[in-house]
Amino acid sequence: MLAVYGQHWRINVLTALEYRENFLLWAAFAVVYHGSAIATLWVVLHTFPSMNGWDFRDMAFLYGLWMTAHALHDTLFFGVGNVPEYVRDGEFDRLLIRPLDTLFAVIVIPGQIFPDELILALVYLGITTWYAGVRVDAAFVFCVPFVILGGTLIELAINVIVATIAFWFVRVDALRWIVLQLEQEFTRYPIGIYTRGVRLFLTFVFPFAFMNYFPATYFLHKPESALGLPPAVGLLSPVIGLTFLGVAYAFWRFGLDRYKGVGH
């Protein structure tokens, strides 16, 4: 499995080199994409200085945590998002005849993947950590990678669920787009601004709040977090991520059996 994964990255790098111009364009897109999100935050908080006690500095850090988890997800698991396309054009059948777990086979499909967004995210996270005045101690340095990994797994789980739905409804582009948008919107602001029902949903059903809100509450030493949970629950995000991914994988297996039953 490791050998396959190594080859996957070898080909990714070769492809990026083959298409240098495209690679630069996509890197520019990553800058615009995140840049416009941060600019929106800045414009809003330029007019309204406080959002439930969070100012622009806090929110810039909140965005940094999400951005890093998201970039890590896109770097490692980009292929999952292409499943609907593979199902539609029949390429998915080719994956089914590989002697690999199908989800793994999807993940190791080489593409034009390069960790440009991840590098950007790490730089941005570093800057906002300083800008937001987060205390950088041993505990922070130890916890941050786990928190980011947790966020990555949460996003992977969501994408696996969307990909599985493609086994039933071949064209799920809109759903995929919406889920990504919802994830962005829900992770952009402190969840305290939402009604209780939405907060519960973001904590226990689709746990986006564990991608950045709860960890940021902890790292920023906010006195309280939404739903009255102690801020330290933010450190549970890897556990939440693994659990959610387990559920998503079970759903994937169920969908795969169905796919093999009826084709598409």
Binding site: A3, V4, G6, Q7, H8, R10, I11, L14, T15, E18, Y19, G90, E91, D93, R94, L96, I97, R98, P99, L100, D101, T102, A105, V108, P110, D257, K260, G261, V262, G263
Partner: protein, 335 residues
């Protein structure tokens, strides 16, 4: 040893009925009607290790549904499939290790990169030992002449070169069985011959079992002795190609080159089947009149410079079966 076996294989699909037009399209947003379609039924056959079989049928006959069940992509509605001792859909990954697949219309090579890189990835996926990988690659390069374009990005290869690459890719992990779906479609004569030679070599040297689906009957004639014909989801013939020709291709054509320009050529027991200058074609049923008798009658009546007999090609036989159906086969023909 039996390597592929199917017993009473059946697959039923449910599909949406679409009504035509704009209103139909809008209506389909809210309610859908379904219909069930039997894709294949009562498919029974078995293959011995090392056999090459042509799996033939018109479009929509159920060929690719059968292949998908043999490769583990689809689960049968009922019936049994066993490939190299395992049930493909239950042990998909092991089955993947045992089989190789080439789709003529869909490449498994990486479009943007040289062939070599795709092979490296496949080596990792199928866990081929390095020395075996090197040995296979060298061998395939010799037969398929891959060295010339090993370093060229796949998107710049001609179709023929790409198909050679695809064949090598499918055979790298020494599969016991290969499924070839329209492997020579769109290729020129030279590339077709190279591919056919490769298939024949693999079968001869390694005993690879080959299941070939194709519309190009020249592939079949060149490679296989046994064919399975499928139409409307069921097997209508399973047996030797030669016997099909023997029993079903009852007509022969006698081609005569005349020494003089006779205005009308008529021979008892044969029907005129076209004339081109001094070359006359006469069609006859070999069960009604022996070729020897017919030739003697021609020689008695005309002066000729050349004479030959044309056998019917498999193409016309199979076309006749598709159009006239299995019932038109002579009753004597055992399945």
């Amino acid at each position: 040893m039996t390597i592929i076996e199917t017993v009473d294989l059946k697959k039923v699909f449910r599909s949406v009925v679409r009504r035509p037009g704009l209103s139909g399209a809008f209506a389909a947003l809210f309610s859908r009607e379904f219909e069930e379609k039997v894709a294949v039924e009562n498919v029974n056959f078995s293959l011995q290790e090392g056999e090459i079989v042509g799996y033939l049928g018109p479009n929509g006959a159920g060929k690719s549904t059968t292949i998908k069940m043999l490769t583990g992509i689809l689960v049968p509605t009922s019936g049994v499939v066993r490939v190299a001792g395992i049930v493909p859909s239950e042990h998909r990954q092991q089955n993947g290790q045992n089989i190789g697949v080439v789709f003529g219309q869909r490449s498994q090579l990486y479009w943007d990169l040289p062939l070599r890189e795709s092979f490296e990835l496949l080596r990792a996926i199928y866990d081929v030992p390095r020395d075996r990988f090197a040995q296979n690659l060298r061998h395939f390069s010799d037969i398929l002449d891959l060295d010339r374009f090993m370093g060229t990005p796949v998107r710049q290869l001609s179709l023929g070169e790409r198909m050679r690459g695809d064949f090598a890719a499918a055979m790298l992990h020494d599969p016991k069985i290969v499924f070839l779906d329209e492997p020579t479609i769109g290729l020129d004569v030279v590339a077709k011959e190279a591919i056919r030679e490769f298939i024949a070599t693999m079968n001869r040297e390694r005993g690879t079992t080959v299941v070939l689906t194709t519309h190009d009957l020249a592939d079949v004639e060149r490679l296989t002795r046994r064919i399975i014909l499928i139409d409307e989801g069921t097997v209508i013939y399973d047996g030797l190609l030669a016997r099909l020709r023997e029993e079903y291709g009852t007509h022969r054509i006698l081609v005569v080159t005349l020494a003089e320009n006779y205005p009308d050529v008529e021979v008892e027991g044969a029907q005129p089947n076209g004339r081109d200058g001094n070359i006359v074609r006469l069609r006859f049923n070999r069960h009604e009149v022996a070729a020897e008798t017919l030739i003697r009658r021609v020689l008695d009546a005309y002066r000729i410079t050349d004479i030959s007999i044309e056998e019917p090609d498999i193409d016309s036989i199979v076309r006749r079966i598709y159009t006239e159906g299995y019932n038109a086969l002579p009753a004597a023909l055992p399945i």
